[in-house]
């Protein structure tokens, strides 16, 4: 790395170590109670200990499985439903009100009902993740399909493309950026829901791990759990961005924020 490149990456990233350094100083000088704000070294030790005894990986694996299952289900049904609503007026008329009225409603309130219907185990959490993620994914798939430039469809038709070809070669690629925007909105939602449902009533998963550790005043361990969730959320988001830029290579580098 040349000096200029090094200087550039320092000026780009300096704030992260700065914030961590402020944290460390606050924790070490005892300006904030040490128990409430453990030093980074203590947190790193807690992460290491939890990694070694397998706790962290065990709970992270459970949370990840739940989140991924619900998310995957929501992708399958959300994209199908969004496409169906965009293609069929009947589907549109039947489902559009459910989505536009239900969108701003916090579905998390239904969790107790889900517990009764699907039991206390993983299924109720997976179904709630599915429901919460379904909304942004469906709505974005719908608008994506609707927003495809008609000129492209006409051009394809004019060149003799069949309906099927138009769907796979024009409509779906045209809707793909919007579909991925929905996926990116839904991703943190899946993590929010899995963590909060595990905090409410569960004896496994990272949500449980964090709330148990902090209820037993082991704040360094709680921060280790938070760090695990942070790593998970960040990695999954990067993976999604990477996948999006591979699949939608013609729009690489375009602003990709989950704003809907």
């Amino acid at each position: 790395m040349s000096f200029a490149a090094a200087a550039r990456s320092v000026s780009r990233w300096y704030s992260v170590p700065l914030v961590l350094a402020v944290w460390e100083v606050l924790a070490r000088t005892g300006a904030v109670s040490k128990r409430l704000m453990p030093s980074l070294v203590e947190i790193a030790n807690a992460v290491w200990a939890a990694l070694m005894n397998g706790d962290l990986l065990f709970h992270a694996g459970i949370s990840l499985t739940r989140a991924a299952t619900g998310y995957a289900l929501a992708i399958v049904f959300g994209v199908l439903l969004g496409v169906a609503m965009a293609r069929s007026r009947l589907f549109d008329a039947l489902f559009e009100p459910l989505f536009s009225f239900g969108y701003p409603v916090p579905k998390i309130a239904l969790y107790p009902v889900f517990i009764f219907v699907f039991g206390l185990g993983s299924l109720s959490k997976v179904m709630l993740i599915f429901l919460e993620c379904l909304y942004p994914i469906t709505v974005n798939a719908f608008y994506g399909m609707r927003g495809v430039d008609r000129v492209h469809i006409w051009a394809a038709r004019n060149m003799g493309a069949s309906e099927r070809q138009i769907f796979w070669r024009v409509l779906l690629p045209g809707a793909a950026p919007s579909i991925f925007a929905g996926l990116r909105i839904a991703l943190p939602i899946s993590l929010i829901v899995v963590i909060i449902t595990e905090m409410i009533g569960e004896s496994r998963g990272l949500g449980y791990y964090i709330s148990y550790a902090s209820a037993s005043f082991e704040y360094a361990t709680a921060f280790a759990g938070v760090a695990a969730v942070a790593v998970m959320g960040f990695t999954l988001d990067r993976l999604l961005v990477w996948l999006r830029n591979r699949l939608i290579f013609w729009e690489r580098g375009a602003a990709f924020i989950g704003a809907a």
Partner: protein, 263 residues
């Protein structure tokens, strides 16, 4: 693809939209009346009666108010910080350089994870909930304000400056209006998050509030109470979103700048 042929009139469309929810409610009512249904499937008519009773007695309002204080308190704080810092970062490179890495690193992390730690710091009262809502609302408002301010057409800024506008005036008359649609988009995402996080936080640990009511009602098998609280949460979420949309229409009425991207 809608204008070409419209087989459904507006009225028919609205009726069709009612089909699924109505069918669900009727099926639910019949199932509950037929007896032998699981205990959590209370007839919708009973739920409505309980909701009405709780409305009249003021009990529902008491919990609703507790939730609203937390949700809107955090929303106001997080939204104000998010918009102020986001716009500032959008016009000042050093500010953007400071916040961008921190925000992009922590953005995909569900803010609710720090709730148990916030409870340890701030106690189990309103403060910890407001803090977690603030954090959750900050991100979408910050990011959208940042992109809104950054995305302002340079030509407008140059023209205004060329005509002798002071930096403050350029900000107030050009950048702010141009960024406004996206700022409002961030506020809309933030409002939905504020309600989700409030309910989630109340379910996890709190005294009072609709989320708390749901959990305690469920524990004591008072399913009618539970559904009444769920209805209240749904109505608040929905009404908040509609109010924001109405405000957006008013604020943006007649404005052309900042809308060329199409919204």
């Amino acid at each position: 693809m809608s204008a070409a042929a419209q087989p459904f009139s507006r009225r028919r469309r609205a009726l069709l939209g009612l089909v699924l929810p109505l069918a669900a409610v009727v099926a639910w009512e019949l199932r509950a009346r037929a007896g032998g249904a699981p205990s959590y499937l209370i007839a919708p008519s009973v739920i409505l009666a309980t909701t009405w009773e709780m409305l009249v007695s003021g009990e529902l309002w008491q919990h609703t108010r507790a939730s609203l204080v937390r949700a809107l308190g955090g929303y106001a704080l997080g939204g104000a910080c998010g918009i102020a810092l986001g716009l500032l970062a959008g016009i000042a490179r050093p500010v953007e350089r400071f916040y961008d890495p921190i925000v992009s690193l922590t953005y995909p992390v569900p803010k609710i994870v720090v709730l148990p730690i916030l409870i340890a710091w701030l106690g189990a009262g309103d403060a910890s909930k407001i803090a977690v809502v603030t954090a959750a609302v900050f991100y979408p408002t910050f990011i959208n304000s940042l992109y809104g301010a950054k995305g302002v057409n340079r030509l407008y800024v140059w023209s205004a400056r060329n005509m002798g506008a002071s930096p403050l005036r350029v900000f107030a008359k050009v950048i702010l209006p141009a960024a406004l649609p996206q700022v409002l988009t961030g506020l809309r995402i933030g409002l939905a998050l504020a309600f989700i996080v409030t309910v989630a936080a109340e379910m996890q640990n709190s005294r009072g509030g609709l989320g708390h009511l749901i959990i305690t009602a469920e524990d004591s098998l008072r399913f009618d109470l539970m559904y009444a609280a769920i209805i209240a949460i749904a109505l608040i979420g929905f009404a908040g979103d509609r109010a924001l949309l109405a405000a957006r229409r008013r604020v943006l009425a007649g404005q052309t700048i900042g809308k060329e991207g199409g919204q």
